[in-house]
Amino acid sequence: MTNKLKYVGKSVPMHDVMDKVTGEIKYVGDMKLPNMLYAKLLLSDIAHGVIKSIDISKAQALKGVVKIYTYENTPSTSYNSHIWYDGLKAIEDEYLFSKQVRFYGDRIAAVAAEDKETAERAISLIKVEYEKLPHIISPLEAKENPEYRITSKEIKSGEPENIIQTAEIVVETALKTQKVHHAAMETHICLANKELDGTVTIWTPCQVAFQVQLVVCTALGLPKDKVRAIKAAMGGSFGGKGQPVLEPVCAYMAYDLGKPVKLYMDRTECIIATRTRTATIGNVSTAVDAEGNILARDIKMLVDAGAYMTNGEAVALAMGKKAFRLYKIQNQRYTAEVVYTNTPIGGACRGYGSPQIHALTEINIDAAARRLGMDPVKLRLKNLFQPYDKDSIGGPALGNARVIQCVEKGMEVFNWKEKRERPKAIGRYVRGVGMACATHGNGYYGAYQDYITMSLMMNEKGEIILNSGIHDLGCGTVTTMKQIVSEVFDIPLDKVTAVEGDTFKSPFDSAGTQASRVTFVCGACALKAAEQTRAKLVHYASRILGCAEEQVVLENGMIYASDQPDKKQAYGDMVTSIQKTLSEKVEVSCTYESPANPASYAVNFVEAEVDTMTGMVRILEVLAVHDIGKAINPGFVEGQIQGAIQMGIGFALSEEISVDSGGIVKETNLGKYHIVNAPDMPDVKVMLIEEGEEHGPYGAKSVGEVSTVAIAPAIINAISNAVDIDITALPATPERVLEAIKRKNIISEVRQ
């Protein structure tokens, strides 16, 4: 590896960008197979109950209806859609169709019909009678009910309880976080077909093709060699398409009917009946000394898994671990209780618990600074981890942790001190600044198996095919892999093809596009595969050229012996010679197991303006500073961060899936579910700290998830700085902000 990089570190466009902007790309919604049927779901309109009867006669009588599926005529094998590899254990409580209704949106039936309209009409003709049961929507209530309690977790270092009991300064913060919809432009969709040999092929915009295969096999009772999952073009996921939701149902219909079936959701169905960000109720107590050293911390999280288990336990654990990887806190305890409620299902959502726990703890850090009369940046700098510090519970090494550098550089660029010390405006619109830090991981090392196999081949034209089970979710995975391979071989990107996941064709990948692992783990595998293939090419070329391996030069697509620079030949010609003369292929299959899981860091600085009359908050400016190791493609990195900030502002201010007292979802469309749109987006400045990470390809580490973690607490801290209020529940809607301002005014009037 030379220091001068030619392909890595460059902002080249995404591989399929032209197809996307011209509309030529074929999403599953665009795919059509001969004799394809369309399928729709009937979702429950009650929150809890048992089906007494289902009358499908009217729907069945509709011309064009092929078959109607309910719990009565489908397998009743339980499964957990979160399980992504054989051997992973979790409570299996999902079914293709429910008899027991657990939330508003539970799957009751599906109709397969000859056209979309018939499928939709038939759904409205199915009559279901329920016996309603009492429902629980509050996690606090669920905690008191043994049937709703799932599990509890504890992570601990030192003796925090004693210290907190005796400490002079203990700062307590409570925060409720809400369920959030991923709001990918593409709603959930799946296409399945039964092939002549009995194989069920599934085309799906998914994050983990092997998980789709496994979950479908479990639910349908099919062997793995009869289920093929192919990752299709992805119209956005953000974790929402991580767990297979439609795939088992769609696959079953195709399997049963022997025909292709396309099952699709509209926005309302996607909001209520797929997955949501796991809601939490958090409490934290932090003991600090007068100088701002954190002495101990106790974090309690009540985790609302929603109606089904899915990853409730995993997300509770994942968020807890993050609390031990940002500040040096020797004495700390994290406890979590996980409960069911009769509300939409929790699942993976960008950050996987990190945004929830960091919102709680980073708001708390600011509260501590306020108590001490200290600049919150100063308090953080005293306690943040240094590079190569140790995880306080013996977790994976933090690696080249550059969070302090992020804070220090960010402060300067943002002009933190001046903005923070500026007198507050007197009037309707008041501005404030806030900041927050966050950490996230790089894959599964230390928690779950994390390896991938890739095969790489150079052909007779000097082109490279990288075959692996990767999934581009629109973040640039394919191009990232190509840049890495191009760098190793010194060939242009258009000479490299990287194909995506297909469980019948891809070598195995243990975990898919989750856990911020793709660049760090899969990218490292691509690097290893490229280096091994390069070594093979060099070895064979040395025999053809009659020189030592050290003398073989690869340069800009040409290969030659260093003492014969006038006898250059194209890679392809060399490959042809190798095949002809040596009967060898320039091809490698290599398995890479991740040896590390360093921490990535993000620090966000925010300036916000509060309309004290309406409670509306406007974000004026964001500076996102990232400890990224090395950006393989800085344009992609910036794109990820811009989008993550948009998502995080919604989490902080406006996005929420809530239910009424009857358990009915209130925000059933994007008119009611408020994502932040372009007019409300601030100027987002991105700053990358590129200090390299030992095990990352070219020093790279993750950015996809960590980028949406710090923004919400930074915003809440900015609001507090502006108008001196405590926000105790996200999102900080105008209603909540105005109420808090009013409460504060009443208190200050009483004091006067």
Partner: protein, 294 residues
């Protein structure tokens, strides 16, 4: 919607022919930004759609000495850029410019907004404040004209029969002393449905408010005139003290309009923000300074 028949009249005469054949399953399409969603949500697959947007006459904005006449199929972006409306119906222009997104304003029409009669509609309070008259075509080719307020019965309800169509909205051109303003509050700054909106028109002479109309939307089932607010500031001199009376009276109006709604707590406070927006938009240049808020 495979069983929907689409009729595309190109003239008023052809529209009359279509209206003659109207039945319970006939729907007037005038932009479709609300109608299409409504049809889909109500699972309506059969019927007749009459598209009004092919009738050129209905897309014009014309004026004479007394009225600005807006064709029912004029889009909100047409309204927003019309110089006569900017001059004489500023509140309607302000309201129109804040409806949905550019794409929605390119399709959505004033006639459609009225017919849809959504309680949170932005154009309707402005039209009420401007004393707009709505002209309706009947299937016998006669027309009649009614004040906007009488056309809207309540949430999603209007007084039109199935064989009638809104064809024109007339806004009287008031004297040059007449000013107007509109403000709304949603959950974000743009592309947002009003939680509250307010339209106002006033005649001001020598610093005195001679006549005023204040209309509130998104409170209850239909937009309404806030008479007690009007009374509180009518025939009064513009001042900061008057602003306080205006604001407090608006809060009372909110209390009276939605006494049992869970949103009352927020709306009764947030109306102060809109009060300030509208009051200073209308009279700002005549008040000493912008009110300071603590």
């Amino acid at each position: 919607m495979s069983n929907m028949i689409m009729k595309t009249p190109a003239s008023i005469d052809e529209l009359v022919m279509c209206l003659k054949q109207s039945d319970d399953n006939t729907y007037l399409l005038s932009g479709g930004t609300d109608l299409i969603i409504k049809l889909r949500n109500s699972k309506i697959y059969e019927g007749t759609l009459i598209d009004l947007t092919g009738i050129d006459d209905l897309k014009q904005i014309k004026y004479n000495a007394e009225y600005i006449k807006i064709g029912a199929a004029a889009t909100f972006n047409q309204i927003t850029s019309n110089t006569m409306l900017i001059k004489h119906a500023k509140c309607l222009v302000q309201a129109s410019s804040q409806i949905g997104s550019t794409q929605i304003r390119n399709a959505a029409t004033l006639g459609g907004n009225i017919a849809n009669a959504f309680a949170g509609a932005d154009a309707i309070p402005a039209l009420i404040a401007l004393d707009a008259m709505v002209t309706i075509l009947k299937s016998d080719k006669t027309t009649y004209t009614k004040p906007i307020d009488e056309i809207i019965k309540g949430s999603r309800k209007n007084t039109l029969y199935k064989d009638e169509a809104i064809i024109e909205i007339s806004i009287p051109i008031a004297n040059d002393n007449c000013i107007s303003a509109f403000a709304k509050l949603g959950s974000r700054s743009r592309v947002t449905i009003s939680k509250l909106n307010i339209a106002a028109t006033a005649q001001v002479k020598d610093g005195t408010i001679e006549a005023v109309k204040i209309v509130l939307g998104a409170l209850g089932t239909k937009a309404f005139r806030a008479l007690s607010v009007e009374k509180a500031i009518e025939n009064k001199d513009i001042s900061e003290a008057l602003y306080t009376a205006f604001e407090n009276e608006l809060v009372k109006q909110v209390d009276e309009a939605i006494p049992n709604r869970s949103s009352l707590g927020y709306k009764r406070e947030a109306i102060r923000g809109l009060a300030e927006d509208v009051y200073f938009d209308l009279f700002g240049s005549m008040v000493r300074k912008v009110k300071c808020h603590d």
